[in-house]
Symmetry: C2
Subunit: 188 residues, 2 copies
């Protein structure tokens, strides 16, 4: 029986696809192994178990998002850059819903690796807010404001929890406008 060229990265990629398809919380090693045409114990040659895999998926998500943000924000500044940042989140939540779920769902590990992954987003976001006339502390708060909104709104949307029939992208855009308008409050 010949081998596939599997490694840790490949396992995470498969897991990410599986998460997008069936939902992050429904992932099992059994299912993942079936998808990969191997047996579940073989996964342990690449990863440290289900918990660890979920952590990896979270980190994968943060890195992916960081790239998408940089990509979209490139060449923009001010309010436009903020909107681009928000749209990057929107796209991730829409196109990679399982990976997006991993980013907020994983709460057991607060280690150095996870911290570095989120730090990337923090730095990029922070930089985008640098055009506004804010103190470093205000800027840090504002990063949290946006991150909280983006994570929460998009999670609620992804899970069909906005039960009325109003268009979600319109709500999203309006919300972003409200937030951007609110930034002026900090400049007093």
């Amino acid at each position: 029986m010949p081998r596939q060229g599997l490694d840790k990265e490949a396992v995470i990629e498969y897991a990410a696809m599986l998460a997008d398809e069936i939902g992050f919380s429904n992932i099992t090693l059994k299912l993942l192994a079936e998808r990969m045409n191997i047996k579940s114990p073989s996964l342990y040659k690449h990863i440290d178990g289900l918990d660890s895999l979920k952590k990896e998926l979270m980190i994968y998500g943060y890195k992916l998002l960081e790239g998408m943000i940089i990509d979209k924000v490139m060449g923009k500044s001010g309010d436009d850059a903020v909107r681009a940042l928000c749209n990057a989140y929107y796209e991730l939540a829409t196109n990679r819903s399982g990976v997006f779920q991993a980013m907020e769902n994983y709460r057991r590990f607060v280690d150095e690796e996870s911290k570095q992954a989120t730090d990337g987003i923090f730095k990029v976001t922070s930089k985008i807010f640098s055009v506004y006339d804010l103190s470093p502390v205000q800027k840090a708060h504002l990063v949290r404001t946006f991150r909280g909104f983006l994570q929460g709104f998009l999670t609620l949307a992804a899970n069909h929890l906005f039960t009325d029939s109003i268009d979600i992208k319109e709500s999203f855009d309006l919300s972003v406008d409200v937030l951007i308008a609110g930034i002026a409050y900090l400049n007093k």
Copy 2:
């Protein structure tokens, strides 16, 4: 062996306490049963299994929150009422973290009972925003803005995903101020 006066409500209360203590996702029927001094199969006399219990816990959370909001908002209006609403969320997330976590777990349950539970919050929130001069559609969008922010910010905070050391309540208050300031943008 005499019996305790256990029923469905009691099981949910115990489960809520356990969730607050060890985290929603760490709940097991085994642990819960131990806490209640019964064996895990006995739980099935009151609930339909772990998944169903988690749904009950989510509904419990929404009802609890609704009560807390009404309580805090009572007698307030305008921006003060909005702040009170936000603080009710904050308190729930802080003091009943396990229950709060249950509320973000609704994604697997989109049934009539769950819908009614969230509808309560929607109505209260909507009413609070009625003092602003907004169209019904704008109001509906704004409810989503706040709900998204509150759910997301507090989830990230509860999951320790805000890695820098800045005070979380300060970030929260500033965020709420930014949002409230942003509402003015809609009145043009």
